[in-house]
Amino acid sequence: MGIISGLSLSKSIWSVTFKMLARYPRILLPFFITAFAEGLVLTVFFYFPRPPLSFIFAQPIRAFFGERFLHYPDNFLLLPQLFYYGQVLVTMTVGVVMLGMAMGMVYEANTEGEKVKIFGNFNRALRRYVTLAGLWLVTFIISLIILRAPRFLVIKFLQPTAPVRILLQVLFYGGVVLTFIIEVLFIYAYPAIIIERRKFLGAIKKSFSISKRVFLTTIVLVITPRILDVMAMALKQKFVGLMNLTLPEITLVILAGGIAVTFVTDSLVFLTTANLFVLSKETEKEVTT
């Protein structure tokens, strides 16, 4: 596929997705539920130094991170890290089920016309939970290695000079781009698991095959919204400086903003690629008939 046709296909997919969302806004519900769960986790971690939540959290926080993080304003220094762990937990539990649910809803919106079921798709995704979670775990571990391993090696073997600090930044953003490419390779596995009821390896194989075929389009569909994520990530990296400039509570605002950004980007990335999956499935059908 050429560059022009690749770009024009992504434009069409976006248009199809927005039209679909206008017709069936409930397709956003799974992403909203995930964002709500993340918001809840953030609320809990915001209140952890205070009773009654401190009765649960004070001991582990003291043991793993230190006493000072139980007090204002240092609790805000720990908040992003705690929230990251919370987000991982939410994605691994609620997130993947909701993602599966959204895949099913997209398929119904494309094929069955009027009725896009909520509970039916929720049940469908729940039944495939292990496969969905396994797939997410694989991509998560690969991304984690890409983002953390080079940084770990540089910090371990090089002195913290100015060029090394620049190298760390380059490695970080390079790692982010690489994780997007990993996402591109695995992204069609989710609809494959739900729509085609494929097993773990079969879904990955299918995803690789579609990604290879429409690589440029997928890259555009994934990376364009993810630019917002990168911006949010860059802001999160500067949170200590922002805390000093303004108030410690700015961390909470940044993290809450991050949830909103993820809601938008995840919806766009997964819904557009699911639409592309359905389209390529239909094309395959037409070719075989």
Binding site: L40, Y47, P49, R50, P51, H71, Y72, P73, F119
Partner: protein, 286 residues
């Protein structure tokens, strides 16, 4: 039916979450910390622009700290807020009011021993500033008798000696330095493994430095390194001897000897890095 289940659980849950978010679930300590942080930020800002600060600016910060002491009297850091109030009055040269505020610490926060000692020391320093030296001595005596093992109490003998030196009263100053040194040496001898001994060593060094008695200082520190090799006093003594040889007596080779001894005997001590830097400095071609 499905939605009924949803409503039964989700609505109360949402209600609790929203109420929690709006009112916060606080015992008071967290709010006190928050207010203290904000007041301290204002305090630091004021300190940075002290020359441009108006009495209203001072009063604003005093009010912020005062609110903490009123709202959260039992919060451990309320005593510190009270201390900052006294500091702010002292900065404005309202010394009687500063003293009154410090006396509140002694009355209201008597369990906070270290801060009470600091408050008493500051009261003594205020009397000194008001030229009421007798009252100051009285306060310092009370400090050394009531809060014996605190940092402020340990500081008193050196402070008294420095007062006489500052006033140009050489004979009293010499006597006070001798008394101070005797006291510090006794503390070191009696409690060589405690933090108090390390502080006393610092003050003893300050006594020698104030009097410019370099060789006496070296002799005493050498004896410490020899007599207490297994305490933090020894590496510190070796490092300080090095500094005196290098900076005051201009004998870099002797300084090198002591720095190397420190590195060799106490390779894991935090003073090894500074010692290595000094060696580098000495060996640097001029």
């Amino acid at each position: 039916m499905r939605f009924q289940w949803f409503k039964n659980y989700i609505y109360p849950f949402l209600f609790v979450t929203i109420v929690m978010s709006m009112v916060g679930c606080d015992s008071g300590n967290y709010s006190a910390e928050k207010r203290f942080w904000r007041a301290s930020k204002e305090f630091n800002r004021l300190m940075q622009n002290l020359e441009q600060a108006t009495p209203q600016d001072h009063q604003k910060v005093i009010d912020l700290f005062r609110e903490i002491t009123i709202r959260y009297p039992s919060w451990p850091n309320s005593a510190r807020a009270q201390f900052h109030i006294a500091q702010l009055y002292a900065i404005q040269n309202n010394l009687p009011q500063a003293r009154t505020e410090l006396e509140v610490i002694l009355k209201e926060y008597s369990t906070n021993v270290d801060l009470c000692a600091t408050a008493l020391f500051t009261i003594g320093a205020i009397y000194e500033k008001e030229d009421k030296w007798d009252k100051a001595i009285e306060t310092f005596d009370k400090l050394t008798s009531d809060y014996t093992n605190t940092y402020s109490a340990l500081q008193v003998p050196l402070y008294i000696a420095q007062h006489y030196r500052g006033k140009g009263q050489a004979a009293q100053a010499d006597a006070a330095y001798t008394a101070a040194l005797e006291k510090y040496q006794k503390i070191i001898k009696d409690n060589s493994k405690t933090f108090g001994a390390v502080v006393a060593e610092d003050f003893a060094i300050a006594c020698y430095v104030n009097q410019k008695k370099w060789t006496e200082a070296i002799d005493y520190l050498d004896s410490l390194a020899r007599d207490y090799p297994d305490t933090p006093l020894a590496p510190k003594s070796l490092f300080t001897i090095g500094i005196i040889y290098q900076g005051q007596l201009k004998e870099p080779q002797k300084a090198l000897e002591y720095y190397r001894k420190l590195i060799e005997k106490y390779p894991k001590n935090f003073l090894v890095k500074p010692a290595e830097k000094q060696i580098e400095l000495i060996n640097k071609p001029k």
